[in-house]
């Protein structure tokens, strides 16, 4: 009985989410129900470690909400990449994972940032993109620097 009521409550929970989020949750549940214990040991271990690291960073409600917001920002960059540079997106082989020197942006995001900087407007080059995730688009003044220049 308790199981049935918790099942109903879960169904209601998911019902409140937007459609795309519901699909994501359903896919994740499916993945968990079909979870393959076997497979390559090292690969499984790395996945588990990555998950545990994520879990320890995301152990509060606010952390989880912050994580969702950050991932949505990332998705927004991908969506803009697809919309503004469809050919480049199609031909790109850049990874969707954060690896190497940057813990904030994926290779694919860097690719988009470079394209925007090349073709639309120059983005700040002196800021280290590998150290920050910006909540705005940092654009560098091309002519007069009204921010830091000294004018009488």
């Amino acid at each position: 009985m308790a199981f049935a009521s918790s099942k109903t409550s879960n169904a209601q929970n998911v019902f409140r989410l937007p459609l795309v989020a519901r699909k994501l949750v359903e896919k994740d549940r499916e993945r968990r129900s079909k979870a393959n214990i076997g497979g390559e040991f090292r690969g499984q271990l790395e996945k588990t470690l990555r998950y545990l690291r994520w879990k320890s960073e995301c152990n509060t409600l606010l952390d989880a909400a912050g994580y969702i917001a950050a991932e949505l920002e990332r998705e927004k960059l991908y969506a803009l990449y697809q919309k503004l540079f469809p050919k480049e997106w199609k031909n790109s082989g850049a990874s969707f994972e954060r690896k190497g020197y940057s813990e904030y942006h994926t290779e694919r995001e860097f690719e988009f940032i470079e394209l925007v900087s090349d073709r639309y407007f120059p983005l700040c080059t002196w800021l280290d993109w590998s150290d920050f995730r910006f909540d705005h688009i940092p654009i560098e003044p091309v002519n007069f620097d009204l921010c830091c220049g000294e004018y009488e």
């Binding site: 409140r16 937007p18 795309v20 152990n59 989880a64 909400a65």
Partner: protein
């Protein structure tokens, strides 16, 4: 007599706060489940700008619920004398 009434009122308020808190996990579960689903999403699964806006809207809606939960926990901490607010394991 007066003390008894005060005590009863405190119990009633505590009960009400607890009843409301029981409902709170709905939002908490949703947020956790969505975060975990995003973590495990397939590398090639992408969202459209409209999808992103919808989920953002949902997040903004739940912000007020999270604030309400924080308020309830603070109230509960005040009602229950031996309650250590900093030890509440909900991570606010």
């Amino acid at each position: 007599m007066k003390d008894n009434r005060k005590k009863n009122r405190q119990n009633d308020t505590g009960g009400e706060v607890l009843r409301r808190l029981v409902k709170a996990p709905e939002t908490v579960n949703q947020i956790y489940e969505l975060a975990e689903s995003l973590f495990w999403r397939e590398a090639n699964l992408r969202m459209t700008l409209a999808d992103i806006e919808q989920v953002n809207k949902y997040l903004r809606q739940t912000e007020s619920e999270v604030e309400a939960m924080k308020k309830q926990l603070r109230e509960l901490a005040l009602i229950e004398g031996s309650f250590y607010a900093e030890r509440i394991p909900t991570g606010f």
